[in-house]
Assembly symmetry: C2
Homo-oligomer: 316 residues x 2
């Protein structure tokens, strides 16, 4: 093992994602510690045997001394404040994040002069719960972890982030920030919006409708149980991409409504939706094996592979 | 046990719902047999030891001789044809159905002169699979079975249907046809429409988006895996109620889009959706105990109790 392969990890924010990451990293043999703004959250993590404090300067100073990978694991609205402290106390550390959008984080990272050591990340995992109590070291197992391959990415922090994601049990999808944000608008943020709207429609039917509700309503509204502040923190920073796909979906639904009203049929929507779900079910991830970080054109090659559904499952 | 308590049952259509009903009824000690239009489907049921044939006249003649409860368990487009045969060969049998809409079935029943013995039913259970291979005697356990309490309902067939539903492990929600159809537009048919639209939006993001898709997309599109013909047979006969709630949902989504575009916030939709999902999760069914079938005003009392979320869990 080279020193780089399990370099220390400093997690800023020990909620569902950051806390699960801390648990998974420690479980995989990393020297890892964390910061949590709320004293109760830090105390809960310490009670479970993890090295978490509410002293941001202390954890960042330690990260700088240990040359740790710093992981920003707070909702988007809290990112800017944390990056200010990172720029002051650990400006030369490798830096990543697990925030649900990538372009706004990358812009904040540039504003703080931290771009040279930064590689964006987004583990595609979660539940409708939040906080340390919901953390699970197995949360990332068999999940996909998006890792940035934007122009200017440096191989060293990139390899550190990929190794950490793989050590947590995920596979890595290489993707640039803008394309990530457009993709998650479709498969994560739109599902939230539709789930909220479906819940509203069901509850408007009163006790009778809610009493008859079964699997399709339960599954279709599951993510509406997520805390409203968290849903907003996930979706609102991606407003531009979400507006595009929401508009697209309003057009699809309006066309279905028109055809149902005029011709008594939902055939177009139902067949297109079934084909789309089949495509999702039959999509097979394939392993990217022939690209070496730092080689000529490695980022362009990874971008291309990611667009075609390729994932990284190991790093030599 | 009076003869009425486990009177014979004749199931017309042994797909997912009818076949599961046949299995559950036999398991509960009923003398039950079935008809399936497809020879393969009937053969598959016989291979599992069930009394199912492709001879409709034979099963209906037997139902008439045994004074069986006849259960229509085919998709809406096939109902009219079956009712024609019921009117010819078993016109005095108690009659129910398990079709996903109630007013169109009731209208067809009236056209065939079978209304006096008819009580509508709709078990709120299912999977995205279909056919005998998907049948499961436990499909109805702990589910809700809507049973009609429309004006003119006769206590005797009503009790038979309720007893059968209870014997299959369900609780019974009393509801009139129109209100049922408006409720299921909200909690069953709209979920199908939104799942299809979400699947379309995800697949439009290509391999990258589908590769990043996790729980929210998987759950939100689950029912889009249902066979398109079946989704259409479920939703299209309820077009009027579905159009109303689809229009309502387009209005909600358009307002959310406008506020997100103009004020960068989803606050209205997300808080309303969360409240609605909380209401769904905290809804508690309560037991209807004080209403006796045939008593003065029993139907009106059951309608009122059903609207307030009451269910029947036993019948003396």
């Amino acid at each position: 093992m080279t020193p780089d392969q399990k370099a220390p990890v400093c997690v800023l924010g020990t909620g569902l994602i950051g806390g699960s990451l801390l648990r998974a990293a420690v479980g995989a043999g990393y020297d890892a510690w964390g910061y949590n703004r709320s004293a109760d959250g830090a105390q809960a993590a310490r009670a479970d045997g993890f090295d978490v404090t509410g002293d941001l300067i202390e954890v960042l100073t330690r990260a700088a001394d240990a040359d740790a990978l710093v992981v920003v694991a707070v909702p988007m609205p809290a990112v800017d404040h944390l990056l200010g402290s990172v720029a002051t106390f650990a400006p030369r550390c490798a830096l990543t994040d697990v925030v649900s959008v990538k372009a706004p984080v990358a812009a904040a990272v540039r504003r703080h002069g931290l771009a040279a050591h930064y590689v964006g990340g987004h583990p595609m995992a979660g539940t409708s719960e939040s906080g340390w109590a919901a953390t699970d070291p197995g949360l990332f197992r068999d999940s996909v972890w998006a890792v940035g391959v934007d122009e200017g990415t440096h191989p060293q922090p990139w390899c550190r982030v990929v190794r950490l994601a793989l050590a947590c049990g995920a596979v890595v999808a290489p993707v640039v920030a803008d394309e990530h944000d457009r993709a998650v608008a479709r498969i994560s943020h739109l599902p939230h919006v539709l789930a909220e709207a479906l819940a509203v429609a069901g509850a408007a039917g009163g006790d009778l409708a809610l009493g008859l509700a079964a699997g399709s309503f339960r599954d279709g509204t599951r993510v509406a149980a997520t805390a409203p502040d968290l849903v907003r923190a996930i979706c609102e920073p991606n407003a531009a991409a979400l507006l595009d796909v929401l508009e697209e979906t309003l057009t699809v639904l309006s066309a279905a409504r028109d055809r149902l009203r005029e011709e008594d049929t939902l055939v177009d929507l139902v067949e297109a939706g079934h084909d789309a779900r089949e495509r999702y079910e039959s999509a097979r991830r394939w392993e990217i094996t022939d690209i070496r970080p730092g080689d000529h054109d490695w980022l362009a090659q990874l971008r291309d592979a990611g667009r075609r559904g390729g994932v990284i499952t190991k790093l030599d």
